[in-house]
Subunit: 439 residues, 2 copies
């Protein structure tokens, strides 16, 4: 007779598992799964473009050929590289250093590159290394990507929101938040920001604000954690320099990702961590070296197979990923132009003023925020999915301080122009009905 096993109690497990942010993400995934026929503007999934499964084998072959022909490696050494445990900070660090130099004008030595299992592991490693004491505080641009607040929650790190304006975070608000933290007995250590086409707001920092943010970081002794997954995808105007490209004091730890510029399925990201670290004994290392110690306790290595795939892709692109992404950049430009055009068509200026509807017009990226005069909550999403066949993300789920209740995020990244047009018609019907149903 098998005894009935006693269940574990959720309330006895780690608090992150019942965190509202994680709960909200689970709800969203569940809704998306429950309405597979709906047109989804919810997840920030990248387009698959002309990817074919056979590309993976080609990239692997390109990478091994590169090792053999360009680097002069023996077959035995290549075999070991792909098969074995390897260098904790990765095997394609040189290719990545060359790529960010070409694409972003970022100059870091290959030793400052940590190849990670997606950008998410990069956040986890960086937070774990930098946050040491109970009083250490992370400042985050809010509303905020849940990956960073979730990682902070796993590690028990306190987070202070810095409200975003229409041009992203205001450097003076960052200064004020750092000073408020210090006044409360905290030690503000770093500020997390997505300077280009932020998730979820779509806003971007001006170049002048980027310079000012670096000045504030120096004055307040903060590090900047710069997350830049969307920077290539400019819709209007010119690409702006990353914070890391402007960084003269090594204040910026740059979190990079190949999820949107290559393929998310490989799970390869990177951290550029060229900060110098001084030991008690006077020994000097790079922050990247310290991150490798943490990485040996999270994933040991980033998959050599995945690194070889991304490595081959970089070699094929001549370590110029921006050029290789020209088609993808055009794709997202058309997608967001279509989405904004359709919103305009359904809600022309006079009508939207009357109805109390508005939206921003991001310069690029995946995300647009629509403000509506009703609660855009989980209940509204459920109705939108069931009765109108259109999915979006409630902005309130990204707010740390109770905002965003009347806003929704639209992601244009995963739909064709035709589906966007149809989806915006459905959204317009949903919004209009909601307004008419108001008391």
């Amino acid at each position: 007779m098998t005894p009935t096993p006693p269940p574990l109690r959720l309330s006895e497990l780690h608090g992150s598992l019942t965190d509202p942010v994680l709960d909200a993400m689970n709800f969203l995934n569940e809704v998306v799964g429950r309405f597979p026929e709906a047109i989804s503007f919810a997840p920030g999934r990248p387009t698959e473009g002309d990817f074919e499964p056979e590309d993976l084998a080609r990239h692997l072959a390109t990478y091994t050929r590169y090792l053999e022909e360009e680097r002069g490696w023996s077959r035995d050494r290549i075999r070991t590289q792909l098969f074995q445990y390897g260098r904790t900070n990765g095997i394609i660090h040189e290719l990545i250093a060359r790529t960010v130099a070409h694409d972003e004008g970022i100059e870091v030595p290959p030793e400052a590159v940590v190849v990670t299992t997606g950008c998410q592991e990069g956040m986890l490693l960086t937070l774990r290394a930098l946050f040491a004491r109970p009083e250490d505080t992370l400042l985050v641009s809010s509303p905020c990507y849940v990956g960073i607040t979730g990682a902070a929650r796993l590690l028990g790190i306190r987070v202070r929101p810095v409200p975003e304006g229409p041009d992203g975070p205001d450097p003076e608000a960052v200064r004020a938040a750092a000073q408020a933290a210090r006044a409360a007995g905290e030690r503000p250590r770093a500020f997390y920001v997505v300077p280009d086409f932020a998730n979820p707001t779509g806003t971007s920092m001006t170049t002048a604000d980027r310079e000012r943010l670096l000045d504030v970081a120096a004055a307040e002794d903060l590090l900047i954690l710069e997350d830049d997954p969307y920077g290539f995808f400019v819709r209007t105007g010119e690409a702006r320099p990353t914070l890391k490209a402007l960084d003269r004091e090594r204040r910026v730890v740059h979190l990079g990702s190949f999820a949107k510029t290559a393929l998310p399925g490989a799970r390869v990201g990177y951290v550029l961590a060229d900060q110098e670290v001084l030991g008690e004994d006077g020994r000097r290392s790079l922050l990247a070296d310290e991150l490798s110690k943490i990485k040996s306790m999270t994933t040991v290595n980033t998959s050599a197979v995945s690194q070889a795939v991304i490595g081959g892709l970089l070699v094929e692109a001549g370590c110029r990923l921006r050029e290789a992404n020209a088609g993808t950049i055009a794709y997202y430009r058309t997608a967001m132009d279509t989405l904004l055009g359709e919103l305009e068509r359904h809600f022309p200026a006079d009508r939207r003023a009357e109805l109390g509807i508005s939206w921003n017009r991001p310069d690029g990226g995946f995300f647009v925020v629509v403000t509506v005069p009703f609660a855009a909550d989980h209940k509204a999403l459920e109705l939108s999915a069931r009765a109108y066949g259109v999915l979006w993300t409630p902005m309130q789920d990204f707010h740390l301080d109770g905002g965003g209740t009347h806003q929704l995020r639209l992601s244009c990244s995963a739909q064709t122009p035709e589906r966007i047009t149809e989806g915006m018609a459905r959204l317009a019907a949903f919004v209009t009905d909601q307004l008419e149903a108001r008391p």
Copy 2:
């Protein structure tokens, strides 16, 4: 003019970075790197066998063919599976469930399988989910694999050692440790153990002790974290059942790895977590579902490319990895037989009694422990590497409580019989000289 950037201070970074265990590991890596010509019995690297880089493309093709032909997937769906973000707990969970059923007689539903970025991520996820309060304590078999103590250190989890005997941990010692923890106001949550051919000691638990350990776990309300990377590699006698195969109360969370049975470079491991979890609202989930919430904040997904490689390998093996590993099992058997035979040849019974040297004779796995009448510390290792050209691992680095000062770990996994023979001659010369040099 570029201002001199202020360095970060190591003392201001997280305490894990200056932990003696991590420091010891760095020292070892550094020594191995400094003496590339030495014969190394230090790392537990698996043999590369007949692996060829081209195998990766074959496994990818096998996996996509399996999806197409056996599962009836469309080409579009396969493309999305390989390219996109996907199911957090992985895409080869069904193949893994089938494999552990064949190989270990472990019956768990595929939904209880969490596919992880190596076994190390499995440890991190499991520890984070289970350890919630400051008083929660992890019991570990000691001397202990540094992966588990390192992960605990990152998360600030207290560890209590349970000393190992010649047959691994004594279940009564586990009970005593749990009771001592409780008496000290702690809440013992789980016990970590490698029941087969443990790293670093090479010891194995008897089947009777495994049953007794499960009884202790039930009586003391402990979970067992079973880590089993070496179980296939039997040298003498029969393979014993895993704790998970004997588990009737779902007390065992099984941490699995393909690093030794397939290839470490893919970084694919898994957690079998079929424990039921009861929410405040009466909702029930599996522990695997809770682990997925954590995983979404560590790596989001395990590389789809890596999973496809391991998936193809499992399909090719008919989900019977033990049979597919017959050659590897024989390889390690010969390696350890050779190592033990050479030790015997250099130090026959009468001579070793006189000299005060001894070693254990593990039933399988990679590791043998040699006890010597001098300090087998970092200084001795440095001398052994420089003057004798042979590397090993000081056992003291695996002890949480100051033991192992006169023991060294030999790993036979990465050397041919010829190199083992030569390496043991060098080790014998080193040991003999050390004894003669004693005052």
